[in-house]
């Protein structure tokens, strides 16, 4: 079974991987670890800093890859099969695209938000929207 694991660039992704990998082993699942450079976040960060959108995009992409490779190392230690993917786009659209493309049996998302109530509400809205648009089970970690 394929498990699409959305890897965000924060420590929560590492904790989520620690929970997901034993489960993947039990389910005999192959992980497709996907990091998304979210265009909305790139624009938001760029507006509040003196860096251009392309500079922010490069930084986010590299951070994303670093997390992916870190998580790949963890997967290796767990003995879980893993493939890495990175893509720039709108968070929900990229997830829908990958679900359509790979038809995973499970979508796992690390959704540990570090901010306050508004960030939690925003994440809940995104999760709700993804849940309404995909046809596979979803696991929030």
């Amino acid at each position: 079974m394929k498990i699409l694991f959305i890897v965000e660039t924060h420590q929560g992704a590492i904790k989520a991987a620690e929970q997901l990998f034993p489960l993947a082993l039990k389910m005999n699942g192959d992980i497709i670890a996907l990091n998304i450079s979210d265009i909305l976040i790139i624009k938001r960060i760029s507006q509040s800093s003196d860096k251009s959108e392309s500079e922010i995009a490069i930084e986010m992409e590299e951070d994303g890859w670093k997390y992916l490779y870190y998580i790949e190392e963890m997967a290796k230690n767990f003995g879980v099969k893993i493939f890495l993917e990175q893509e720039e786009g709108y968070f929900e659209s990229v997830i829908s695209k990958y679900v359509d493309k790979f038809q995973p049996g499970l979508l796992a998302i690390s959704c540990r938000v570090s901010g306050g109530t508004s960030e939690i509400k925003n994440m809940a809205k995104i999760i709700e929207s993804i849940r309404n648009n995909i046809k596979c089970p979803m696991l929030l970690l």
Binding site: D30, I31, I32, I58, E61, E62, D63, G64, W65, K66, L68, Y69, Y70, E72, A75, K76, G79, V80, K81, I82, F83, L84, E85, Q86
Partner: protein, 150 residues
């Protein structure tokens, strides 16, 4: 990040003919082993670790690029590059055969530098313009200079 500093000219091979994934990994390993930094690690040991890693998911990152990488007991990060003449099936997730190959071997003590190097190469190679350039460069010097631009 200056990728060029990790890549010796002797570790770059262009337009190599190879039959399959195992063959290209062997050629990459040969290039890695020419580096003094590798020390006493044997070819069979290196191949065993790389192939074992590949069993846990291909290091093909898509669009014709593969990046086999492992930790090993060596003194410093070392890297090899091959552009093959023919396209080789590398079991990549996108099912596309590969023509651009990097191999990175690093000591555990340099993990953050290793992750940064992997991330930088992956980011660069995800851009089609960069892949196109790499496929058209004529000499190892040009490859190293190009990678040094990022």
């Amino acid at each position: 990040m200056d990728i060029a500093k990790y890549l010796r000219l002797e570790s770059i091979a262009l337009d190599i003919k190879c039959k399959n994934k195992k063959g290209i990994i062997e050629k990459l390993a040969d290039l890695i082993l020419k580096d003094d930094k590798v020390g006493n690690i044997s070819k069979s040991e290196l191949l065993h670790d790389i192939l074992k890693r590949e069993e846990l998911g291909s290091t093909g990152i898509g669009e014709g690029v593969a990046l086999p990488h492992i930790h090993a007991e060596i003194s410093d990060i070392t890297m090899a590059f091959i552009r093959s003449k023919n396209k080789i099936d590398f079991d990549a997730l996108d099912n596309q055969p590969c023509q651009i190959f990097f191999m990175i071997v690093a000591p555990v003590s340099k993990n953050s530098e290793y992750l940064k190097l992997l991330a930088t190469i992956s980011r660069i190679m995800k851009k089609s313009a960069n892949r196109k350039t790499i496929l058209n460069l004529k000499t190892p010097e040009q490859v190293r200079d190009f990678l040094g631009e990022f």
